[in-house]
Every structure is written in C-alpha cells, then in structure tokens.
Amino acid sequence: MSTAPSPKQTSHYVTDAFYDDLVRDFSDWQEDDRTVGDVNLREACRAFLEREARLLDNHQYSDWLALFVDECLYWVPATPHGGDPRREVAVCLDDRRRMEDRVYRLNTGAAWSQIPASRTVRMVSNVEPFQSGADGVLMVRSHFMINEFRAGEGRSLAGWCGHRLRQLDDGFEILVKQVNLLECDQNLRNPSIII
C-alpha cells in the first residue's frame, strides 16, 4: 500500500480530529449575529454556488472536483441534523478519494443507475453566508431545488446545503459540502446523481 500523502490515492486526513472539527463546524453555525452583511461578498457566494450547480447539471465532474480543496468532504447525512458520522452511516460521506471514485464510476459506462443519465436543472436560492469564526472561512447556507428527469420520469429533490468555503483572492474553494435533503431519512429512489 502506498503511503504517499496524496488524498487522491490515500486517506490520511480523515482523522479523529477531522471528524471532531466537522461535527463542531456544522453545529449551531446559523446565528443571526454571524451573518455577513457585505453585499458584494454575498453576491460572490451566490455566483460561486450557481457555478457549482451548473457544473453538476452539465456533468463537468472534473471541474466540479476542482472547486474543492485536496482534503475535502462531500457529506449527505441520513438524519436531519447530521449527527456524528463516526456513529452513523450517511447517505454519502466522501473524502477526496471517494469523490473521485464516485465520478470514476459514473464515467465507466456501466453505472446502470445513470444509464440513461439524469438531466437536471438546479435552482439555488436563499444564499446566506455566515462568519465561521476561522479567518478567511465562511459557512454558507443555500436552498436548492433539483428538477431531475431520467428514463421518462421527472422528480424534484429539495433541501439546503451548508458549504464551508475558504476565501481566495479571486473566489472560493470548498472545504466541506453538506447536503441536507428534505427526505434524508426516508427511502430514496435511485440516489445516484451528485447532489
């Protein structure tokens, strides 16, 4: 087994401390006194999330992966409050390597749950950034509605996201994306798209 530190091939960064931070960072962050009033910053967050939605709608998965830091997380909890992923399974909990696994699988040509592939349009709204308490890091709540059409049927998936974003000179990068589906604790039909 390689011990090279590349998070694309090994997973050394998902440690106890990483989980501790995750649980802490995603608890009680949506406080009125932490909201960001700067209209330009709010607008920049909105534009960033809209671009992410477009990349997923257009199946530009490499570009989507490039939005994330190397040591990132994509997390779809199976309970409304997320809980501690060390104690409960999630709908999805992907480190960088598993995110790349997920994309790799979709591109194999044999991921039958996505043959034919879903067509989606994603609406992003109610974009509300919050100070995270860490320098240069924002927590952003946004609402989503995904209209999905596949194999002759349409459906919609709704919920809200919590993005933990690091501010860069020219934009943002995603540290953690948490997706809170309205029906996260219900039986889901073909949850094979990236949400």
């Binding site: 011990t3 990483f18 039986n187």
Partner: protein
C-alpha cells in the same frame, strides 16, 4: 387464467383463487407474480402474515417502554417492549375508528393516544381511557376495544419476528439450519451481538421479490456491478479488492450457494478469502479515513489489530431469511413491500458493541471505519441493482412474453448436491435457490393460512 379476487380479509379462510400450477413451474414463473395487484394482495396476507416476518431488532427497543414502528405486509405495526418488558407487535390502529395511534418512527412511551378522539392505550395494548365514557352504554373494558396484536412474536438472538398464523411452525423450525448461520454472523462480534444504527434507505419501483431473487444471486455480480468492480480496483496494483472473485469463473471459485428450506438461503463467499486474521480487511475497498484509523489500530493493538480490522470489513455472506430479512456484509437489510411495483429496502448499519472490552478500547475506531465500509455498497452497488429491478418491472409489461426463467443449473449433471438433511448446495451463480424459494412460495400461496389476531383480556 380463470381467477377470482382474493378475499383480502386476513381473517377469513378461503380456498386459493389462483391456478398456481399454471404460474409456477420448475424452471420458470409467470410475470403476473410480479405484476398482478391481486397476487400482491394475496401475498400480503398469505406470506406477510402467514409466515414468520422480520419485524425489528432488539437493539431498537433496548429499554422497557421503547417502541419502533414498522409494517407487517401493509399492516402498520408498533413493536414495543412494554412496561413489564414483554415484547409485543401491536396493530397501529385505534380500535375506535381506525386511525394510527403512533406517528413517530421510534421512541419511548407508556401510553399511545389516538389524535382523533383521544382514545388512549397502555403500551400493553389495553384501552386505558376514552373521553367522556358516560356516553357509552357498552363496557369499554371488553377486550375487543384493546389494540389488536400479532398473536405470535418470537425472537432469535435479537431478531424479532411475528406471524398471524397460529398454525405456523415455530420460529426455530422456520429458521432451521439458518439459525446456525446467523450464529456465525453474530459470533464474529464481541459479545455475539450488534447494535442497529442508521440506515441507507433505498426504494425502487418494482416488486419486492426482485430484491429477494437477487439476494443469493451470484450470476448478476460481474454485470450489474461492473462499475463498482472497476471503481474499486482503479487504484489497485496487485491483488484485487472487493468482489473481484466474481470476475473470471465464479462457478469454479470455492464460494457456494445453499438452500436451507422454507425459502431461506445462504450465499457464502468466505471460502474465497484467505483464512488468516486480517484477510478480510486486505480485500476491503478504499474508504474515507482507512489509512489513518488502520494505523492507529495497529499501533494500539499490535497483533490483535488484524482481528479488529476484520470487524470493520464487510463479512462476505448473504444470509436471506424469507421473506424480508437479508443479512449481508455488515448490513441488516429489510424489504418492505409498498405496492405490487414499489418496494423499500432499508440497509440498517450495524455497530460493534464491546461491553467486555475485548477490543482493548478500540471499539470506537472499529465502528468509525465500519460506518464508512457500510456506505459503500448501497452507494456504488445497490443503486445499479435497483435500477435493473425497475427495468425488469418495465420489461414485464410485455404481456404476451410472460415467462421469467430461473433454470441456471437445472439438470446439469453433478452441479447441484442435496445432502441427507435436504440442504442443497450449488455453485455461486446457480439459480437453484430461486427455484426452491418459489416452490415454498407456491406452497404458502396455495394453502391460505388461518390468520388471527389477539387482544389483551
């Protein structure tokens, strides 16, 4: 086919309205078993009710007054450990007008109160009070006003089952040799037990039997799960991971499928895996945090780490208890029919409980790894099966081409062996487990059971 509607009433004993010999053959079954709403309605009475059905796991109701809601067929059920510690499966149906008396998924309650008119029941099912009882001339203490209950509730090592059929064999007889296989699955864990935890919950638009037919099917793996097999091995140099033993000649591999009677079957892939401690972990695919937690376990436990890591790895077995309990890997998967063409499959995760500290304080790390291994198959494997089930349901709309074949292995000399106790063993891709299950299914459907409920006196 000349058929009548089934009675639909669980309590009446009617002759079978279907011509089963025309629909179920040794080598094939008719599409209507998957598409006919009347057959589905009969199954919800004759099978889900007429035979032992898995209802809940002990660890969901560990304390007195704990309950969890579920279904027995389509009947809404509350499984409760009542205030005296008795495990009951009660109909979640007010005896007054029929509303459910409990809307929560799980919780703790001494009383259940109907939200419509306020009739209130003890968690043993007895009616404890109604608003303004002086408006009733009848005696509300009569047992007919107490909640209906599943008359037979039995459990095996934490797995709680119920049936409405007084004449059904005992649960022990229903399980037969499966009990020993469940023992093996449990006994690899400290204390011989597991704790149910959160689930990956999936749904497909297809008949429930499509999932049961799949549960011991070693024939589909290389095809249905091709994307998973490719994904799991994309970074691998050398020995392949996961289910790669299906890729070349699965029938020549040492794994096998066994039919153990009463619709129960077992696919055992353990013989494919080297037998030394740590061997299971070595073939596990890659999951978040693996390297870090593995390193920490090895540092803490030394030689004993291999055993702990194997507990985080997926046990390569499929233990299928007819009609709705599928124990696979570290999952307890429960099938819940919703309609003839709609099924929920709930993949409960299981956590290790280590009260005696057999793992030298490492149980939390083992479970952290285990949560991640549990997520893998529902995400990257089951979604493809579920869509294939939906495509079967779609294909079966072709009415004039009604047969579904399951004759792989049938009459092939030397392929299928039956021992003196009747246990049938075949290579991993054989469909003998389906053929035998449908014989059992046909017996159940052809002789409608006498179903009963009971109430507290």
């Amino acid at each position: 086919m000349d058929k009548l509607k089934p009675s639909g009433g669980g309590l009446s004993n009617v002759a079978s309205p279907f011509e089963w010999d025309e629909l179920v053959h040794e080598d094939r079954v008719h599409r209507s078993l998957y598409t006919d709403p009347d057959i589905f309605a009969a199954e919800m009475t004759y099978i889900f009710g007429g035979t032992w059905t898995f209802l809940a796991h002990d660890s969901q109701i560990p304390q007195n007054d704990n309950y969890v809601t579920t279904s027995l067929g389509l009947r809404p059920i509350i499984v409760v450990r009542d205030s005296d510690g008795v495990v009951r499966a009660m109909f979640n149906r007010c005896t007054h007008r029929g509303a459910t008396v409990c809307r929560a998924v799980a919780g703790s309650a001494k009383l259940f109160q109907c939200a419509y008119h306020g009739w209130t029941y003890r968690n043993s099912g007895e009616l404890s009070g109604v608003p303004w009882p002086d408006g009733y001339a009848s005696n509300l203490k009569e047992s007919k006003y107490n909640l209906a209950q599943v008359p037979r509730v039995e459990s095996y090592r934490g797995f709680i089952f119920g049936t409405l059929n007084r004449e059904a064999v005992s649960l022990a007889d229903h399980l037969g040799p499966m009990a020993g296989i469940i023992d093996q699955w449990l006994d690899r864990h400290p204390g011989g037990r597991v704790q149910l935890c959160e689930a990956n919950r999936l749904k497909y638009k297809g008949n429930w039997k499509l999932a049961y037919d799949n549960s011991a099917d070693g024939y589909h793996v290389k095809f249905s799960h091709r994307s998973l097999l490719e994904m799991e091995n994309r970074l691998v140099v050398g020995e392949e991971k996961g289910m790669s033993f299906y890729k070349e000649s699965p029938d020549q591999a040492p794994m096998y499928v066994k039919y153990l009677g009463n619709g129960n079957h077992f696919k055992d892939k353990r013989p494919n895996v080297a037998q030394h401690p740590g061997a299971l972990w070595e073939i596990e695919g890659r999951h978040p945090g693996m390297e870090y937690f593995e390193g920490r376990l090895r540092e803490r436990l030394g030689d004993k780490a291999a055993h702990a890591l194997d507990l985080s790895a997926s046990e390569p077995v499929n233990i299928n208890v007819f009609p709705n309990l599928l124990i696979l890997g570290n999952h307890i998967q429960v099938l819940q029919p919703r309609a003839v063409d709609e099924t929920d499959t709930t993949w409960y995760g299981t956590a290790v409980v280590d009260e005696e500290d057999e793992l030298d304080g490492a149980v939390d790390d083992v479970n952290t790894l285990r949560m991640r291994t549990l997520e893998s198959f529902p995400n990257f494997g089951e979604v493809d099966d579920a869509v294939n089930f939906e495509e079967i349901q779609r294909g079966l709309m072709a009415e004039e081409d009604p047969w579904i074949y399951m004759h792989r292995g049938l009459d092939v000399p030397g392929r299928v062996r039956t021992d003196e106790s009747g246990i049938i063993t075949a290579p991993a891709t054989d469909e003998v487990f389906m053929r035998e299950t449908f014989k059992h299914w046909k017996r159940l459907m052809a002789s409608p059971p006498k179903l009963e409920i009971r109430r507290e006196k």
